[in-house]
Symmetry: C5
Subunit: 263 residues, 5 copies
Amino acid sequence: MMNRMYGTGLACVMFLLGCVTASPASAADREKLLSEPGVYGTFAAFRIETDWGKLDQAMRIANLTSFRGVVEQHREKLAIDIYLLRGLSDHADFMLRVHGTELKDTQQFLVDLQNSAFGRYLSSVVLLNGLTKKPNYVPGFPEQLKTDLKGSSESGPYVMVLPIRKDTEWWSLSQEKRAAMMQEHTEAALPYQKTVKRKLYHSTGLDDFDFITYFETAKPEEFHALILALNKVKEARHNRRMGNPTLVGTVRSLDQLIEVLAQ
Amino acid sequence: MMNRMYGTGLACVMFLLGCVTASPASAADREKLLSEPGVYGTFAAFRIETDWGKLDQAMRIANLTSFRGVVEQHREKLAIDIYLLRGLSDHADFMLRVHGTELKDTQQFLVDLQNSAFGRYLSSVVLLNGLTKKPNYVPGFPEQLKTDLKGSSESGPYVMVLPIRKDTEWWSLSQEKRAAMMQEHTEAALPYQKTVKRKLYHSTGLDDFDFITYFETAKPEEFHALILALNKVKEARHNRRMGNPTLVGTVRSLDQLIEVLAQ
Amino acid sequence: MMNRMYGTGLACVMFLLGCVTASPASAADREKLLSEPGVYGTFAAFRIETDWGKLDQAMRIANLTSFRGVVEQHREKLAIDIYLLRGLSDHADFMLRVHGTELKDTQQFLVDLQNSAFGRYLSSVVLLNGLTKKPNYVPGFPEQLKTDLKGSSESGPYVMVLPIRKDTEWWSLSQEKRAAMMQEHTEAALPYQKTVKRKLYHSTGLDDFDFITYFETAKPEEFHALILALNKVKEARHNRRMGNPTLVGTVRSLDQLIEVLAQ
Amino acid sequence: MMNRMYGTGLACVMFLLGCVTASPASAADREKLLSEPGVYGTFAAFRIETDWGKLDQAMRIANLTSFRGVVEQHREKLAIDIYLLRGLSDHADFMLRVHGTELKDTQQFLVDLQNSAFGRYLSSVVLLNGLTKKPNYVPGFPEQLKTDLKGSSESGPYVMVLPIRKDTEWWSLSQEKRAAMMQEHTEAALPYQKTVKRKLYHSTGLDDFDFITYFETAKPEEFHALILALNKVKEARHNRRMGNPTLVGTVRSLDQLIEVLAQ
Amino acid sequence: MMNRMYGTGLACVMFLLGCVTASPASAADREKLLSEPGVYGTFAAFRIETDWGKLDQAMRIANLTSFRGVVEQHREKLAIDIYLLRGLSDHADFMLRVHGTELKDTQQFLVDLQNSAFGRYLSSVVLLNGLTKKPNYVPGFPEQLKTDLKGSSESGPYVMVLPIRKDTEWWSLSQEKRAAMMQEHTEAALPYQKTVKRKLYHSTGLDDFDFITYFETAKPEEFHALILALNKVKEARHNRRMGNPTLVGTVRSLDQLIEVLAQ
C-alpha cells in the first residue's frame, strides 16, 4: 500500500521528467561501441549525498531533469549504461558504464554530469578506465574451444564488476606460459557461458588495476559458481588483488534510475 | 531513574508507532528461507547520521513510522532479522540480515528503506551478499560425525558476523584435501554446537569475501572458545582475511530497535 | 592567567554538574570486576564532533549533565573507567573502559550514552571487546617466576592500549611450544612489573584482534622499555599486527573529564 | 542545445574573469624549469567541496577571479600546469603541476591558493613532491640507444601520473645491476617514445614514494601498451607500489579549467 | 600586487594579535629540552576545517588571539616548534613539535589548544609520541667516526618527519649485529651531516611506530640524497614501514603561522 501511494506520485514524476529528450546514438553505433576492440570503457560509481533526501520532491524532479538532459545529450557519441548499486553494494548508489572511442568524450560527459544541478549532490567514489582489445590468447586456442566460445549469453538484470591486479610475476612469464594458463581459465569458464555474460577491459596504467571484468546474469548463483571455478585454475594465483571494490547491482534504464531517485 | 523517565515516553512512542503494521511472511516461509539451500542472504550494516539525534522526538517517531512500514511491507517476501550493533561494534549502529530467493527483492527492500524518511539519516557502511548451499563436505564425513552435527543449538541474544577470504592456495587444493581439512575443522567445532548456533553463506564474487560466517549465542565466551579452536586447525592457515570487519551485536525485534532509536 | 579565568568558570560548572549523582557499584564489586576471570572488558574510544565546540557553555553543561547521569546510573552494574586521549592520540578524544559480567549491560550503557544529549556529539571510532581469563601458561611456570609475578604495580596516570593479532602459525603451535615462548615473554617483562601495571583481555572473535593489552604507568619511558624488551623475544615474531591503533592517554575521573569538556 | 545555453553564459563569464591578468614567467624561464635538472616538481590534486556547486554563478565567478589572480601572480617564478581530473579519476577534481627552483615558492603559491576565496572550497587530496635530476643510467647506455632517446614526443591532451615505491632490495643492488635493468627498461619503452611523452621526478624522502612518473599522450592505448611493456622487464619486479593513486586527466589552460568550474 | 593588498591588512592583524604575550621558557631551558636525553617529543599535525575560511577576518583574528595565548602560556614549561605543512603535505595544514619532561604537560597544552576558540576549527590528523635517549650504538663506534659526528648542522627552513616501524627480525638480532648495521648506516649519513640536521625519537609502544626521524635542511635535494644513501644500507631492509605519513613543511614562528592563518 505504501508502494501504491508512491506509484501515483511517480506516474506524475515520470510525466514531468519525460519532456526533455534527445536522439540517442543509433542502435548500430551502440552495437559497435559495445562489441569492437579499441573502445574505451569507463566505470563511474557515485554516492548521492544525504542532503539529496532532504530536498522536496519538486526540487528533486527539477534536478533529475538536468541529469536526464546530460545523459541524453551525450548519447549522441557515447554508449551509456546505467546500474543501481544501492542495496547490493556499500558506499555507492549507482554506476555508469560509458563506452566511447575517445576518453575525452567520456570525461566531458562526466564533467557535465557533475556540473549539472543533480551532479551537485554526487560524490565520485570509484572510477575505473579500461580499453577493449582483440583477444590476446584465443587465436592460439584449439578449434573446438574457439567454436564453443561463440555461443551467446543471457544478460541481466544482475551486474557484477570486479577489477583485477595481477602480480609482477604474471607479466614476466612468457606468452606461451600465459596462453596455456588462459586456456585452462577459459575451459573452466565454459560451462557458464550461456548463463553469465562476460566482457573484459584492459586497464594497466589507466587506473590502479590491470583488468576490469564485467558480468551480467539472471542467476547470481551461476556467477558465483563461475568465479569459484576460475579461482581454482593456476592463473588465479597471479591475482594480487581481485575485487575490492566488488561492485554488484542491477541493470536499469535511465527512466528506472530516475524513478528510484525521485522518490 | 533516568530509565524510568524514558520508559514513560517510550510507552507512548510505541503506541504511536504501533498503528502501521502489515502481514509478515508466514512462519513456514520464514522457516524455509532460513533453512534451505539456494537462498540469498544479505547483511547490511548502517550508521545513523548525527543529525538524527538533533531531531525532536516527534520527528524521530514520524520517521521511524516510515522505517516500520518499509520493513513490514517487504516481510511478505523476505525474512528480515534485525540487530543492534551500537555499543558492541564501531562505525555501525544496526544491521539487517535479509534472506530471499531473489537478490532483486532484497535490493528493492533496501532501496525503499534508504528512500524512506528514516533512510535519509542512514549511511550504508557494510554490505555483504551470500548464498546458502548444500554442505560441500558433510556427505563424505563419518556417520558418527554426521549424527553429532544434527543436534540443535541455543540462539541469541548475541550475534557475531565474520566474513572470510581464503588464500589462492586453498582453491587450488583437491576436493579430498579440502574435505580432510574441513572434517578436522568440523570436529574442532563440535564441542560448541549446543551453545553456539552457526550459519554459513558462500559469497565468492558477490562481495570481497568468500564466506560470511554467522553466529548466535547466549555466551560470548563460548563463541570466543569456538573461534580459538577453529584457529588451531590447518584449514585456518588458508584464511587470508577473517573479520575486518567483525560485526558484533544483539538480536532485536523491529519494535526493540525502534524503541532504541526513538529515544 | 588564562587558566585562572577558566578556573573560576569551572568551579561554577562543577557545582552545576554536581547535582545529579547516583550510587556507584560498591568498591567490592568493582574490585571483583577488575580482578576476576570471566569478566568482559570493552574499550570504546570516541571523537567529539567539532559542532560541540561551537555550543555555548550553558548548553555544553546541560549536555554533560546527561553524560554524568548515564555513567552514574550504569555504575550500579558496571565498572567504568575514563581516559582522556586528546593530545596523546589522534582521531579520538576520550575512551571508556567498561567491565561487566554481561556484554549486554555494556551495550545498554553505551547505547544510553549515545542516545543522551551529549551522545549526539560523539562518533564511535574504536570499539574493542575482550574477556578476562585465568592465566593460560602461568600454572606451568617455575615457582620462582610465579612468586616474582605476585608483586604489585604502581598505576597511572598514563594509559596505553595496544590490541594484538597473532599470525595463523601461532595458533597451530603446540601448547608446550607456546608455553615456552610465553615464559620467555614473561621473564622479559619482569623487570618492569613494579613500574608498569598490565592487564590482558582475550578478544579472538569478539573484534578484529586476538588480545587487548592494557597498561598503566607513571613513567612512559618504562613502558617504552617494556615493549622494546617484549619485541625481542621469539613470541613477538608471531604478532601479525600490534597497535594500529595504539591508544595513549591519561586516567581521569568522570569529574575531570567533564571539566575538560565543559571548557 | 544544453551546451549552447551554457556557452552563451560562459562567453560572459570569461569576459568578466578576463580582466585580472599578470605577466607570466617568460617562455624561456618556463622552458628551463621544464627541462633542467635540479628543479622541484610538486603535484597537488584537489577536490572541490560540494558546497561550491550550490553557490550562484556570480559568486563562483568572483571566487574564480581570486583563483586566476593567485595563479597569474606566482607564474612570475613558477611554471604552473593545470589538469582536469574529474571524470577520469575518482576523489579529485583537478591537479596542478608546479615547477620551481625552491620548494618554498611552491608552498607560498599553494598557501595563497588555499587562502584565496576559491581555496576555501578546496580539499588537498594528493600532494607529491619530486626533484628532476640528470639521468642516472643513460651515460652508460650504448650510443645507439642514446641516439634513439633523443627523438621528440608528441604531447597531450591526456596526462597520467603514477607514483612508484621501489622495494628495499632494489636500493641494495649494485649500480651495475640497476643500470643493466634500467637499460632493459629503456629499450622496452623505446617503441613508445614518439607517442608518449615521459618525465621523471625523484621523490625519495619528499613523499611516500621514490619516483613520480609523468606521462602525456594523445593516445591512451599507446600509454597502456607502454606500461604493459614496462611491467614485463625485470626492474618492474622491484616496484613495491605503482600507482595507488593513479591520476588520469587532461591538460587544460587556466581559462579552460575556470570555464569548467564556472558552470 | 595581491600580496601588497594583503600586506597592509596583515600589518594591522599582527598589531592586534600582538597584545597578548607571555614569558616563554628561558633560552637555557629550551636548549636543554632540545638536546638532552629523557625528553618527550610529540608531533601533532592538524587540519583546519573549511569553515575557518568562511569566517570574516575579525573573527579569525579573535580566534587566533586564543591560539597565541595558549601557546605562550605553555611555553613556560614546554619547547614548542611550529611548522607550516600546507602546500607541501596533503591532509594537514600545520604541525606542532612539543618537547617536555612530562607527557601530561604536552597533553594539557594540546587539550587547551583544542578547547580554545581556534581549536574548534581543528582536526587532529597525526599524533606521534617519542622519547629522546642516549645514543644506543655510538659509544661502540670507532673514534674517528665519533669525532666526525660532532660537527654541527645547518638548520631549516625545510622540515621532514618520517616515522619508521622496524620488522620483528630487527629486534631479535643481537646488539652486536644491530650495532654493526647502525655503524654502516651512520657512515652512509656522514656526508650529509653539515647540510641536514637530524634528530631521533624512540616511539615503540607510544604510537604505531618505533622511531620518529626528524630532519631540517635548507636544501631538500641534500635531504633526498641522504635518504637514498640510507636506503642502500643493510639496516634499511628491516624497515617494515618508513614514512606513510611523510610530513614535509617549513619552520615558522608563531607570528608567521598566525599571519598565514589570518589571511
